[in-house]
């Protein structure tokens, strides 16, 4: 896929990373278009978390560069839902305080912080008490708080590392709808890691399939299903064809 510079929100060039001498990435390139949702689908340990950790500036890279419309990651507003969401919440703050935190850091006035918190709680249909501490919440509840925290600041770029892994059936469904709406509305460029192929297709503008280590791109699939994509979309012929293509690539490149 070739994009004009103006359209690109994230540019990754020549990315290199090795752990203990064994390379995970050796010269990886990627461009993500502004406002796109990029889903990354790949086997365990292929380097998905490593990739977004480097993109988010949390992990030093061995080489290459990652730029956001020419800027460093420190210059942009980022949202991140960690794969280990449990350890990323602050246990000394109540859930609500955890969500307020990035908004405070952004300097939002108190009134607006409360308003956004209210809005999030409603849209996420939170049924538990946000005034509890993270360790008093169930796994899924913690993950939900994590997602709310990441969205609270309306980031320019959002990284979601298996954000639905602990959510229940219903919440997952409603959150897919919600995210679609919010991300598209606000034009947030998103990288989503998911092990659920249907979910990846339903949510993404583009699906990147990665191989095992040493990691390369097995396929780069544009998903041009119409938005919004309701549950019914799962049965549409376009969807079925895409899924079949992906499964095919997967069988050949990954499972082999």
């Amino acid at each position: 896929m070739s994009l004009t510079p103006r359209e690109t929100a994230i540019t990754i060039r020549g990315l290199r990373k090795a752990f203990g001498g064994q390379p995970v990435y050796s010269g990886f390139d990627l461009d993500v278009r502004r406002g796109d949702i990029l889903a990354i689908f790949g086997p365990n340990g292929c380097g998905k978390s490593t990739l977004i950790n480097m993109a988010a500036g949390l992990l030093p890279r061995d080489g290459g560069e990652i730029l956001y419309d020419g800027r460093e990651v420190s210059e942009i507003r980022v949202g991140y839902v960690f794969q280990n969401y449990r350890e990323a919440l602050f246990p000394w703050r109540r859930a609500a305080e955890n969500i307020r935190y990035p908004m405070r850091r952004m300097g939002l006035p108190a009134a607006q912080v409360e308003q956004r918190l209210q809005g999030l709680a409603e849209r996420f249909r939170v049924r538990f008490d946000l005034n509890r501490y993270p360790y008093e919440l169930s796994g899924g509840q913690q993950q939900l708080v994590s997602i709310m925290r990441a969205l609270a600041v309306e980031p320019e770029v959002l990284f979601l590392d298996e954000p639905f892994s602990a959510l229940d059936f219903e919440t997952t469904l409603s959150l897919r709808d919600l995210l679609q709406r919010v991300l598209k509305e606000l034009g947030i460029t998103t990288i989503l890691v998911s092990h659920d192929l249907e979910e990846s297709i339903i949510l993404a503008d583009r699906l990147l399939m990665l191989t095992r280590r040493p990691t390369t791109v097995a396929d780069d699939v544009p998903i041009d299903l119409p938005w919004p994509r309701q549950a019914e979309a799962l049965a549409s012929p376009g969807f079925v064809a895409l899924k079949a293509r992906c499964l095919d690539v997967f069988q050949k490149a990954v499972a082999a």
């Binding site: 988010a56 500036g57 949390l58 507003r77 980022v78 949202g79 991140y80 960690f82 280990n84 350890e87 990323a88 919440l89 602050f90 246990p91 000394w92 935190y101 990035p102 850091r105 952004m106 501490y133 360790y135 925290r149 600041v153």
Partner: protein, 249 residues
């Protein structure tokens, strides 16, 4: 209420052990008087008000020294812990002075602070600050990385991460450090009261009792000092129960 039974039993057991040692005549009663005698003498000391005054002076000095030590040790320790390389640099000085007897530092501090109150409080504050700093730094060095990363992602600057994450992550160990620190401050204050320019304080009283061979009173005063140490620690035990609700989860 129930929280107090443990310590109370501990203190009781300790006194019983003492009594047992006396009964077994581990040592001559001149050296190790029975607890009853020590308490009687101590009680007399409190009754005529002088011992209460001495205790209060020691508490004041210890408190002041500890406050200074915490005000310096906690922020500095957390900040240094966040910069491990820098910490490794000052570590020499920290370990150096942690390994030097306070009494060997008296001359130096006398030079700097003169033979008055200043020196006693300063030496104690210095000693306690080192311990607090050391623990705070280690608390931070051993903090969980994910939380720091999460804060960074949410736009927290270096100093904010210190205040919002690292201090909290290190809090259990900072409290351990503060408890070590307040005990050490008390020890140094008492020793200083023994040696440098003092007309009051528990240390002064211990030395007096020792010179007068009132070993009942001497052990009584030492007991008061130790119990005072426990009481000061108790503050932190309560603080910890109150504020470190998340530890271990």
């Amino acid at each position: 209420m129930r929280a107090l039974t443990g310590p109370a039993l501990g203190a009781l057991g300790f006194v019983l052990l003492w009594q047992l040692a006396v009964l077994l005549r581990v040592a001559d009663p001149i050296l190790l008087p029975p607890p009853a005698e020590a308490f009687a003498e101590t009680w007399r000391g409190f009754a005529d008000g002088t011992l209460a005054h001495d205790t209060w002076r020691t508490v004041q000095r210890t408190g002041l020294a500890f406050l200074i030590a915490s005000a310096i040790g906690v922020p500095l320790g957390v900040a240094l812990g966040a910069q491990e390389k820098l910490y490794r640099g000052v570590e020499f000085v920290v370990d150096f002075f942690r390994s030097t007897p306070a009494s060997a530092l008296f001359p130096l501090f006398l030079i700097l602070f003169g033979p008055g109150e200043g020196t006693k409080v300063a030496v104690a504050a210095f000693g306690a600050a080192l311990v607090i700093l050391f623990n705070a730094a280690y608390g931070v060095i051993n903090a969980r990385r994910t939380r720091v990363l999460a804060a960074r992602i949410m736009g927290a600057s270096g100093p904010r991460i210190l205040v919002d994450v690292l201090i909290w992550e290190a809090l259990p160990q900072i409290l351990v450090g503060m408890r070590s620190g307040i005990s050490l401050a008390l020890v140094i204050v008492v020793v200083a009261e023994m040696f440098i320019g003092s007309t009051d304080g528990l240390g002064h009283r211990v030395i007096n009792a020792q010179m007068l061979f009132e070993s009942g009173l001497m052990y009584g005063v030492i007991f008061v000092a130790g119990a005072l140490g426990y009481a000061l620690n108790l503050l932190f035990i309560l603080l910890e129960k109150r504020f470190v609700h998340w530890s271990g989860r």
